[in-house]
Structure formats: C-alpha cells, structure tokens
Assembly symmetry: C3
Homo-oligomer: 303 residues x 3
C-alpha cells in the first residue's frame, strides 16, 4: 500500500482512488523514497529561480518547489509572470527549463488545487494551466526542456510545450501523459500537443493507456529528443541552445508560429468551454469523494 | 495462370481482370493451396462465434466462414449484430477478433456481393461495410485484432479498426489495403484510418502502390503493433487485453473518442454520398464485365 | 570566408548576409570547388532535356543548367512547359527527374530573380515557383526524383513534390528546406509538403533550424526513400518506376489525388495572397540590401 501511495504521489493530478493501484503495475521506481503530502510553507520564497545570461541571451528557469514541483496556482502564476518578463526582454532569446530537485522535473498539477475548492477557484486554477501552455507553446524564445527527473502529466505537458527536450539517461525517470490511468482525461490541447510531437498512433496508444515511458522508451517514440548522462543535462541544453540561437530569430519565430498556430488557436477559441468542462468534472461529488479518500490516506501515512 | 488466380483469390474485393496479374509480382505465397470460388452453403450455421468470459469481461469473436472469411452481406450483418450485442452488454469490456481458419484472418470484401447485383443491393452491401467500420472504430470496448493469417483489403480495414494489432510472426502472411493493385480505390475512410495508424507518408506509399506487407514489414511501418509465434497470437491478445482493461473504462473511452471522433464524423456526414459513389462505380459495365471474366476463370479453374 | 561563400552559393534562395556564416557551421562539403556567380549565357540552349521512351512510357527529365540548376524564371518556365507536354501525352505514364551536373541536383531558387527586380517581375517569378510545385505535386504521372547531388531549398521542394525519392548514397550530398538558416521563411505549402513527407515533428525541427540533412540522415527521417550508389541512381529509378507503372494508372491517380488534394487546394485558394506576401517581403529595403552585399561578395570573389 505504501508503495502505491508513493507511486501515486508522483501525480499532482490524480483522480479516482480505486484506480491508483493500477499505476503501480507499471513498476516504475518511486521518484523519491520520502514522498508525502506536500509540506506547504506559507513563506514567500520563490518557487522559481531565473538566471539570464546577458552575454548569451539565454535564461535558465529553475523550478525549486519541493518536494515535486507540483503545479499549484501559485506556482503557475509565478511561472507565467517569469515567462512573460523574459518574453518582453529583448536581450533574452532562449529559455532552458529545468528543476533543482532531485529525481523530479515536475510531478504535474497539484491535487490540492482541485479538492474542496469552489468552482470559481477551480476555474482560476485551470485558466492558469492553460496560460502556462499557451505562453510556452507559443513562445518567441527558443525553448529547451532540460528534464533532469521524472515528468508525468502536467510535467510532460510542460516538456512538450518546449521546442526541444533533453532528458537524463536514467531508466528510473519516466515521462508521459498518464491521466487516463488515474481515471482522468487529458484535454484536447494536451492531446494535440502530444500528436504534434509523436504522431497520431503513438499518441493514441500513450493516451488511451495512460502510459508513462522510461527515458529510453520516451526517446524511441520521439517524446524526448535526446538522452544524456544526468550530470550533463543542463550543459547539453546550453550547447544545443547555441545552435538554436544561430538561426535568425525572426525566421525561426515565424516558422514556429506557422507550425503551432493552428493548435494554439484551437484552445484560444475554446478556452471558456474548456474551463467549464474541467470545473464541472472536477467538482463532481464522486471525484471529490475520491480526492478526499486519497488525501486522507496520504495524511494517515504521514502520521 | 493458376498462380495468378490463386493469388487474386485472396481478395474479396477485386476489380479489373487485366490487372490481376500485377499482384502476383509481389510473390506472396498463396494463403491456401486450394482457393476457389467460395463453396457457398445456404446453411444457417453462424459465420461468427462469440465467447464472452464473464469473469474477465473479455469476448473472443471468431470468424469461421470458410474458405477465407469473405465479408459478404450476411457475414457483415452477423458481425454487426454480434458487435452491437457485446457493446450493449455491460459485462463485456474487451473484444478480441480472430479467425478459426488456417492461414487467413479475412480476405476482405466478397466479390459475389458486387457482381450482377442491383444498385439497391450493392448499396445495402456497402452500407454494411460502413457499419462494420463505424461500430468497430468507434467501439467503447477495448478491441484487439489477433491476426492469425493473411488480412488483405477489408481484412486489413477490420484490423486497423481495432485498438491494437497482434499478428502471427509468419512472413507468408500479409496485410494491407491493396485495392489499388486491383484497379480499385480505397475510399477516404479506409485512407483516413490508415493515415491515423501509420502516418501520412507510409499511407501514401501503401495506398498508391496497393502494397501488401509481410508480417515483419507490417510491424516495421506500424501497421501491426506486435508479432508473436502463430500459436501464441490469441494468448498474447488475452494478456494484452488485461493491460487495456486495467485502465478505467470511462477515461479510456473518452480518450478514444477524442482521438477518433473526427475521422468517424467525416464518414457519418458523407455516408450517403459514399454509398452513391460506390454503387455508381461498381455497377459500371466495364467493371461488371471484368468481374464476370474473373468469376468465369475461377469457375473454369474449379472444373 | 571563401568557404562561407562557397557554401552559401549552394542556395539560390539566400537572404541575409550576416547569417550566411551560420550555414558553414554545418560543415557540409561544398557541392563544387568552383562555385561562383552563375556564368549566365544568353544562349537559347535548353536548360532541360527530356527523353521519353515510348516502349516503357517513362520520360527522363534532365536538368542541365550549369553551374547548379538554379531555379530561375526561365528555368521554371521551361520546366513547366515540359511537364505540361508530358502530362498531356497519353503515352507518358512516368517521369524521372534528375540532373546532368556533377554533385548537384538543384541548388534551389535563383537569387538573381529576387535582386533589383520590380514587384511585378518578382510576382511573376513566385507564380512560376508555385506553378512548378502545383504541376509536380499534382501530376497524374508517377514521378520519381533521382537525386544525384545536393538538393537544398527549392531543390528539396522539387524532390518532395515527387512520388518517390532515390538519392545517391554520398554523405557529402545534402538535402533540406534550409530557408530559415538564411533568414527566410519557407512558405506554408513548402511546410505542408514536408509535413506530409516526414511528419509534423521532424518537419518542425527541420524548418525551425533550417536543417540540411546528409543523404544518410535524410533517409533516417524519411526525407528520401532510398539510397543507392551514385552510378545506380538513374537505373534504380527506372527499375522502381516499372513497379509504379504496374499499378493501374486510374486507381493510382485517384488515390494520389485523395492523398494530396487538400494540400494543393490550400495553395490554390491562397495563391494571390501567397504571391503578395512573397513580393512584399523580398522587395523590402533591408532584404534587398542584404542581397546586394551578398552578390557583391560573390563578384569580388570571382575577380
């Protein structure tokens, strides 16, 4: 049971308790031996740290919100503000996203944002998730995900929102849109982004089965572009970025927009309906009951 | 010549006599050394046998219509009735489709349904073909094709209508939408399903050349998902199905619908036009003449 | 510097001078050690030679416009006239496109057509580029590119406009839509054709980075279908063509149209806007200045 909990704790976005045991069949290693209900502190210490190197024009955005970089509303808001600042800073041309945490890039959406919250608050949260993706997938900067740990669900969405993905060559790290395993459905724009990345058939299999791919398997289906030893993830991202920045910005930006505009426009023109769908799903009594049971188990395990 | 006939006899859906010799260049082994005009019996013995295991929720649908499981109107009607029954049976969550015949999964559409028939009858037939695909591609059940023999044309369509394809690892078995080789054109929804499965470029090559792929080649382009020794096709399908059924049904079904709805809707909104197109093509004098010559050759060979 | 010039001279369609050095980082060998500003002769000697073998129904179109088969307005006009003649010739069923030049298939659009020309003339030129692609991508003939040398930019567009691509197995030859490297953006129909050929993700990487692929790398991503020793490119194309022509023309043509119509229609319904876009871009002062500097460098190098 503890193993199930530890495994399930990987997912910020988890739904139906009875289905959590499903995931453990995959036998992936827990990303941390001491996962627990997030020890939330109310400190105002930033969840994200950004360093912009003015000589290269490359910013490194480090996610540093223990234990698993869960995408809470606060986290997403901070993420989007930082992204917007960099986007408007003419001296910044490239963005590398990575994690300061051991073994995890981001565990995805924060379950606490979905339990016992008002519909308004849930809607606000979902809008922030949309905003994160819209800003990232449509960024004028060259964007590289330096995936130095596991990256399920929302963490995977963040990764495939970038232009390029470099992952630590560690078979214990996994990545994927595994929502289905948890009784949840990845929304259409998660799906569209995955199809754009790995093609229709691989996306169909990945989404219907809610598959998490080990780093080597992720490379095989094209979910990540490159594997490197764990201690070289960031330096390789820096090297790769210099190749991206060797391409004239304007031409690259127009080309990127040409490739991604249709997918982005689809969410933009369905944004409110997408929020309504999410809120009506997540506030269902049955889903809330499952979330409560799940959280109580996490608490009792802590105690 | 006999070889040509035997080869061409693989295709229920065959058109222009003069082009039949084309196919033989592929040099695929005949799926049966004794192919002939189907010995039709008017018995009411079922062409399909369904076994539902209530303990697992998995039904096995066995096609048992010798010699080659041709998709006749009767066959398709029986197939669709069985599919509908299972679809409405809450205790059935997964469907495995396989064949009881040696060396053949299904040879595709039955040529006899297209020769000397009234336009009304041809239209009825085509509607049944559409129905088979609509029911299968849009099924709420998890569906696995256990392809234990050759599967050209309509047999391939049935296979790619499933969620997953396991084929016997026998290079003498082939699969593909080979209509073009026979002077016929696979309709748009055959094409869409193939593109969804193997991607645009592989589908373009496959359809323009009417390629039949040996089992190993089919695996290479992703036309099937897995090869196993012939005697393990069904058991592997059972094992694989248990993985599919470990995913919560509701989430899997919504996800499947999200992946396939657009393709299904395209036929639904063009269904009548698609029937009209087929009927006007197949009832052409030139096509009917070719069918007659083809059938006479099959008969003379039998005699 | 000379090396940069030689490298950049590969591209008929080159834009911003300051970016030319970017390309040289790829370290591809120059396609010719003696590249220079094209020695234009005003002779009326044809830039294209066509041989139609009436016994096979196969025409071989040889591009023979030294030094690099640049796609000038004259060249494109001649190309389109020849294509149209063959298209209307019932005895011609297949077309093989190749080059008589050493080491180069086609270097793409001719920079001289874009420098110092009136908007009207630029528009006329762009219309001819569109026409070349429309005729080729929508041809009723089976079309094979016998790529016996490098094929950047417009040369790559011509290649992926065919039904099948056979390239010389020489890692010094490269192919790709490298416009972005030169500060230019491949228009949407270049992009659509590439996506149709190699899929969305490979096209995204190729276009955003303006990648030129060595022959082996081009095979890996599916940009070409087959590599053969240099002296067997044409004979392999002939052999391959006989397989294509074994398929009934009518069925192949309808199937090809079904696969490509949507992509073709998209340009047809946006043709004027596409011309306007190109003309307004290429006649910009900044772009014209870059072209002049580039040409002056080529001239000074010659002197």
């Amino acid at each position: 049971m503890a193993n199930v909990l530890r495994n399930s704790a990987k997912f910020g976005f988890s739904g139906v308790l009875s289905q959590l045991s499903i995931h453990s069949r995959h036998g992936r290693e827990c990303v941390s031996p001491c996962f627990s209900l997030q020890q939330r502190n109310s400190s105002t210490s930033p969840k994200i740290k950004v360093d912009l190197d003015n000589s290269t024009g490359v910013a490194v955005l480090r996610m540093q919100s223990p234990p698993v970089n869960s995408l809470s509303l606060d986290f997403l808001t901070e993420f989007c503000i930082n992204l917007e600042k960099l986007e408007m800073d003419k001296s910044c041309r490239g963005l590398i996203i990575t994690s300061t945490l051991s073994k995890v890039f981001s565990a995805g959406l924060d379950i606490m944002e979905m339990y016992g919250k008002s519909p308004e608050r849930c809607g606000e949260f979902w809008k922030a998730v949309q905003e994160m993706w819209l800003k990232l997938y449509g960024s004028n900067m060259a964007t590289i995900a330096a995936i130095n740990g596991s990256s399920p669900a929302g963490g995977c969405l963040m990764s495939i929102g970038c232009d390029y993905r470099i992952m630590a060559d560690n078979p214990r790290y996994s990545i994927g849109l595994n929502e289905t395993q948890l009784g949840i459905v990845a929304p259409f724009w998660f799906k569209d982004t995955l199809v754009n990345t790995v093609g229709n058939r691989a996306a169909e299999l990945a989404l219907e089965l809610g598959l998490l791919y080990s780093a080597p398997d992720a490379l095989k289906i094209g979910l990540v572009d490159q594997l490197v030893p764990e201690d070289q993830v960031l330096s390789t991202a820096q090297d790769t970025m210099s190749k991206w920045l060797a391409v004239p910005d304007h031409a690259r930006q127009i080309t990127k927009s040409m490739m991604r505009k249709q997918t982005i426009d689809k969410l933009l023109s369905n944004r409110e309906a997408d929020i309504t769908n999410f809120v009506s799903f997540i506030t269902k009594d049955s889903i809330q009951r499952s979330l409560r049971m799940y959280l109580e188990m996490l608490k009792s395990r802590k105690a």
